[in-house]
């Protein structure tokens, strides 16, 4: 048997056996592996996958959910639309980077480009001010096709970038992103060059006009929650576990029989789905798209958001996005409007310098400190007693 045949045989046979070992481990994370080889899953045989999904939900989740519902009732349209909805759209794109970078170990700067591809496609397929280019399809058809093609694009980018590792991936994805930016700027036939497209508002479905701040808020929050949940779910599923294994030690995972390339490609495709949904929301929010929406600054902003929040946990993307949008809107009260980049760049530098895991890492550090100081007090108290 040649080496190639051997590897192929390992790839087709081993993963199932390997994963079944993992599912039997009495680990809490194992309880959330629904559906995969159910006969061997001794822990949750009686529960349906839905009830197991429910079991993940904690009190803090319901509190956040409640807060998200009450928020538009007490906040002004500026805060629901400009701040919250924009944060959710940006957070979704950053979430795709968190998923790729945090769980797959592939920091891709072209996630905004994927979002831009879906945004451009929705302008081309759907309706916009450029009637000569836009095809005027119904919104749902345009959305489906934009997302599908953006996923294909993301997979192609992944195919190119997974041939390299670490910092090379950053460089190649950055180069791809900037190349797409120049393409949109120079091409007038399809992308309408420098001008881009405008009047690409959210559609009206039945009685609900999604251009309305509250409706759009719920749309973006809904998409964000769904994506957050699916990322949480996926990283505990066998696929996500294998992906994290590949992140930590690709050679070992390869010798265990996992197909590294396939896992990484699938991760890029899934991240492409998240980014394209975020991209469509962002385009509906902005009501326009132009090369300026996907230039180097925009690509790097997504990285800034993801790093700001912290890439260790999917919630970091949204925390980062909210911080970013708040800074964007309110930093201009402190400094000149032109100097926003200086502020965000300095904040980014501070975070990278002092807390590489972002705001989440900062929170974690504080919690550890509180916990340890509390324990010290208890120890001292017991000594006194």
């Amino acid at each position: 048997m040649s080496a190639a045949q051997w590897r192929r045989a390992m790839n087709t046979q081993l993963p199932r056996a390997q994963v079944s070992v993992v599912t039997q481990a009495p680990d809490r994370s194992a309880t959330s592996f629904p559906g995969y080889i159910p006969t061997q899953d001794l822990f949750n045989q009686n529960k349906s996958w839905l009830s197991r999904a429910w079991s993940i939900i904690r009190i803090r989740h319901s509190l956040v959910l409640l807060g998200l519902f009450i928020y538009p009732l007490i906040a002004s349209p500026f805060f629901t639309y400009q701040i919250a909805a924009q944060s959710m759209a940006l957070g979704l794109i950053a979430l795709s980077l968190t998923f790729l970078g945090g769980y797959g170990g592939m920091v891709s700067l072209s996630q905004m480009t994927v979002a831009g591809v879906s945004g451009y496609l929705i302008a081309i397929f759907g309706t916009s001010s450029m009637t000569a280019i836009s095809l005027g399809w119904p919104w749902w058809l345009a959305v489906i096709f934009s997302i599908l093609i953006a996923i294909v694009f993301a997979t192609l980018v992944g195919w190119l970038s997974i041939r390299t590792e670490g910092i090379h991936t950053i460089m190649i994805t950055l180069a791809i992103g900037v190349a797409f930016f120049y393409l949109t700027q120079q091409n007038y036939v399809l992308f309408n060059g420098f001008q881009g497209f405008s009047k690409i508002g959210a559609p009206t479905v039945g009685d609900v006009d999604f251009k309305d701040p509250n409706a759009f808020y719920f749309l973006s929050v809904g998409c964000a929650l769904l994506s957050y949940w699916s990322v949480k779910y996926l990283v505990r599923a066998p696929f996500g576990m294998a992906l994290q294994g590949i992140r930590d030690n690709p050679r070992r995972m390869n010798s265990l029989g996992f197909n590294i390339t396939a896992h990484r490609l699938a991760a890029h495709a899934f991240a492409g789905l998240l980014a394209s949904v975020g991209g469509i929301l962002l385009i509906w929010y902005n009501n326009r798209i132009s090369p300026g929406s996907i230039n180097t600054g925009a690509l790097i902003n997504i990285l800034v958001i993801a790093v700001l929040g912290g890439m260790k946990h999917p919630i970091g993307a949204f925390i980062g996005a909210i911080t970013f949008v708040l800074l964007q809107n309110f930093a201009i009260d402190l400094v000149d409007r032109q100097r926003f980049n200086l502020v965000i760049g300095s904040v980014f530098l501070l975070i990278v310098f002092f807390s590489p895991d972002g705001l989440l890492g900062l929170w974690q550090k504080l919690r550890v400190r509180w916990a340890s100081s509390g324990r010290d007090e208890r120890i001292q108290g017991s000594r006194r007693a």
Binding site: I167, H168, L174, A175, A179, I300, V304, Q338, G345, L349
Partner: protein
């Protein structure tokens, strides 16, 4: 060379030869002019990218603030040029200013996070955002141009192409001199030997009693200085304005991806490919010139993921 590799090169070279024959037949002046333009652009790209690849080769960090160093060199050179009226001093000032900032970045930032590749890269991204905005603040959005001495600014008559800007030929010469200089330093001097040893095995170099930190600082100064020098040289050929930093950063990224990270000859090959592709693209298919660059990158990555002359790390 393996047979499949040989076939690949034939597949690549043959259409290019045919296309250039067609180009010569169609319009010889345009073809030769474009070739020369491509060569001069490649020369400029080589100066920027050689510093980038040198730093990467030794320290394994992708300095995404390289474009900012380019712009800093250009602006400082412009100030000195305005003040003293000497273009040569401007070039020198661009080199020194960028080199000093490069050393500062190395000492203040990179020495603190040795071995953390991703974090170093993130820091350079942050630095490039901050530096770009500071420069925009101070110098504004205007376009600055240099005025070089008259003897390098006229036109030279060449066979077939009647007139060609002398300055572009000078850029070509500067680049060749820099390339040869780098090659000499790297292969013929003690310092060069240390740098090459550091590229191959940092730990071993340090164990044999060399002060690796000093070598790092020196290499970073050289790499950054080359970016600053390219700022003045390139700024004279074209012009300087905010946004040029990203342009040259992208150029050096693509050049070293194609040529192979950490290899100076690789940077030369990459620069040649990208410079020629960009100019030919602009001359023959203006809308899609960027796509050519991109296609070259894809082909290079698909067949040689580490670049044409890249080594496995």
């Amino acid at each position: 060379m393996k047979r499949s590799e040989l076939a690949f090169w034939w597949l690549l070279v043959l259409p290019l030869v045919l296309l250039s024959l067609w180009g010569l037949d169609e319009d010889a002046t345009l073809f030769l002019k474009t070739t020369l333009n491509g060569l001069t652009l490649a020369a400029l790209y080589f100066i920027v990218a050689s510093g980038f690849t040198l730093v990467f080769g030794l320290m394994r960090n992708v300095n995404l603030a390289h474009g900012s160093l380019f712009l800093i060199g250009a602006y400082v050179g412009w100030i000195v040029g305005e003040y003293t009226g000497s273009w040569l001093l401007a070039v020198l000032a661009g080199f020194i200013a960028a080199a000093i900032i490069g050393v500062l970045i190395q000492i203040i930032v990179f020495r603190r996070m040795q071995g953390e590749d991703l974090r170093q890269t993130l820091v350079t991204i942050g630095l490039s955002i901050v530096l770009a905005d500071l420069m925009l603040w101070y110098f504004g959005g205007e376009i600055y141009t240099f005025d070089p001495p008259a003897w390098i600014y006229g036109t030279t008559s060449l066979p077939i192409i009647e007139k060609f800007p002398t300055y572009r030929l000078i850029v070509l010469c500067i680049s060749i001199v820099i390339g040869l200089g780098l090659w000499t330093v790297l292969t013929r001097t003690r310092i060069g030997m240390m740098i090459r040893a550091g590229v191959d095995d940092r730990g071993m170099l340090s164990a044999s009693g060399v002060n690796v930190q000093r070598i790092f600082a020196l290499t970073f100064a050289l790499g950054a200085g080359l970016a600053g020098l390219a700022g003045v040289v390139g700024g004279t050929a074209l012009s300087i304005s905010p946004g040029e930093d990203t342009r040259y950063l992208l150029a050096s990224l693509v050049v070293v991806i194609v040529g192979g990270m950490g290899s100076v000859p690789g940077a030369a090959i990459g620069a040649l490919l990208i410079g020629l592709a960009e100019q030919f693209g602009q001359a023959y298919a203006p809308t899609y010139s960027v796509v050519f660059t991109f296609v070259i990158m894809i082909i290079a990555l698909a067949f040689r993921p580490r670049g044409v002359l890249g080594k496995a790390i």
